[in-house]
Amino acid sequence: MSVKTKTNLAIDCAILIAFLVVNNPALTGLAVHEWFAIAAGLVLIVHVLFHWDWVVNITKTYFKKLIHESRFNYIVNALLFIAYIIVFLSGLMISRNVMQTLGIRLPASPAWREFHSLSANLALLLTGLHFAMHWKWIVSATKRYVLAPIHSLVRRPVMRQPAVQPVKIDKSK
């Protein structure tokens, strides 16, 4: 369980950093922005793969017995997934480097540029919501797997105390 949680935390951190980098093309320049976005898209697919059981379970029980929070969470995640697809697709449609490298010529239109900008803003909003819905998990996993190891490194080593175990004394003897 802990290995899975650690892996999930590492992937989620990578996605967040990748999202912040990709969302600001000035940080990398246009060519790196396009290729980096493709890499980030692949990491997103891995993220969905890691949560496959949750997706299947909620999809099966969506209209049956389910608490409201899970339903809302599912809707947010589905919308986020769609928003990322729109960002990715519109990004490919207005791409200058990736498509040129692949030798594909696409009919560009101003609509795709608008869609790219709009869906990126929507993805940012939904990422915030997604973050909020998993806040408890993020805090507990960060405390356990990031802060606690750092704290134990910084803390002075303490002399180990011998274990004390209560022993029952029979007074009748």
Binding site: L27, I45, I86, I94, S109, P110, W112, G128, A132, W135
Partner: protein, 119 residues
Amino acid sequence: MLKVTLRLLVILLVIALIGAGIYALVQNSPTNSGNPAARGFPGQTVSVASRSSTGQAFSPQRFGERGEGRFNFSLGRGLAGALGNSLEILAITLTVILIRKAIAPRRFQVRTVRINQPS
């Protein structure tokens, strides 16, 4: 391994279906139809010169020039943007957490009360 491959294929299929739907929607949208000259590649010169009601001619623009500067590499601007995005995500997160706390049903507080029983 086969299970993971199948799951991956399902995810890619869903992405392809949603992508195809969005592509069809955008390509057939009214924004996209219209002046066929406007459907050029980015950077391609597209004549959008026209005359206003006063008869003044607008200068031709290059499609894709609008907001071009923001794609040029600038570490300071990029970092500022990333910081801004982080703050936006944090603000949304905090807002949602506060709303959830306000909505959540209040838990009963358990207190021990000493009852003086008549002797």
